[in-house]
């Protein structure tokens, strides 16, 4: 079993990120899409921590801290919007909310 290097961490986060994006495109449920976005965020966090470890600094962890905080805010507002949307159309399918166009 090979010893994990920085690269393996970065690769892992890349895969994670890709999974997240795929979820954003694939899912037809806004909640799940938000979850996928969280996955992407965490992929980035992993990169930060890994590089942090590599450079022996703490800035990465601090940035992770900020990312998480902002993610919390994002989730709160996003879910609130989601609830408001659901009240208007009994659906969470993003394709149901295409009225904001030409």
């Amino acid at each position: 079993m090979p010893e994990p290097t920085l690269n393996s961490y970065l690769l892992l986060s890349a895969v994670l990120f890709a999974i997240g994006t795929a979820g954003v495109f694939l899912r037809r449920n806004l909640i799940t899409i938000l979850l996928s976005i969280e996955v992407m965020l965490n992929a980035v966090n992993l990169t930060f921590v890994a590089v942090d470890r590599f450079r022996g600094s703490v800035d990465g962890q601090i940035i992770v801290f900020f990312v998480i905080t902002v993610a919390a805010a994002e989730a709160a507002v996003g879910l609130a919007i989601l609830i408001a949307l659901f009240r208007h159309r009994e659906s969470l399918n993003p394709d149901a909310f295409t009225s904001l166009k030409w």
């Binding site: 010893e3 999974i19 495109f25 799940t32 942090d52 703490v58 962890q61 919390a72 709160a76």
Partner: protein, 172 residues
């Protein structure tokens, strides 16, 4: 020992994430995501960042995911509706979505190549290097990043107000 746990966590992480985006029941997605978070914090610990790991669990698992849970329960939409129309129309209707999935795969490959393009022989994250303590993080956070910290707190306040206003059922 570390190697094993790394690969174990990585496996859990990837599988859980795949399942998060891979099935239609948001409830399951939420719980799988929690699992993946747990694995992630495990990786953080391996990386000598227990603080980050704990924050990850406390904030993400302890707060954000609960929020998601509430919404899922509140709206009670167990599974996303299956794509409408017959098989052909479904195929083409789904076209762009699948394209997106493929695209993200391409993206992953690109990143992998980029990593390969960079020298693969990066020094490993050996346990020898001293792990920064919470104290170090705190000092740095409240000095260099003091302003960012305050700004974030304001942001959260705004988000709170915004969320309440948005989700409040307007009285009539």
């Amino acid at each position: 020992m570390d190697a094993i746990s790394f690969w174990a966590f990585a496996a859990i992480l990837v599988i859980a994430s795949v399942l998060v985006v891979g099935q239609r029941n948001p409830m399951h997605s939420v719980f799988l995501l929690i699992v993946s978070f747990a694995a992630l914090s495990g990786l953080y610990v391996l990386l000598g960042a227990p603080f980050a790991a704990m924050i990850q669990v406390i904030v993400y698992v302890g707060a954000i995911m609960v929020l998601f849970l509430f919404v899922v329960m509140l709206l009670n939409t167990p599974t996303e509706e299956a794509p409408a129309g017959g098989p052909i129309r479904r195929m083409f209707g789904a076209g762009p979505r699948h394209f997106g999935a493929v695209l993200s795969g391409v993206f992953a490959v690109e990143l992998a190549l980029a990593l390969r393009a960079a020298s693969t022989t990066l020094p490993g994250t050996d346990r020898g290097t001293p792990t920064p303590t919470v104290y170090d993080i705190g000092v740095r956070l409240f000095h260099e990043y003091g302003f960012a910290f305050e700004a974030t707190s304001v942001l959260i306040l705004v988000a709170m107000v915004g969320a309440i206003v948005l989700a409040r059922r307007e009285a009539r």
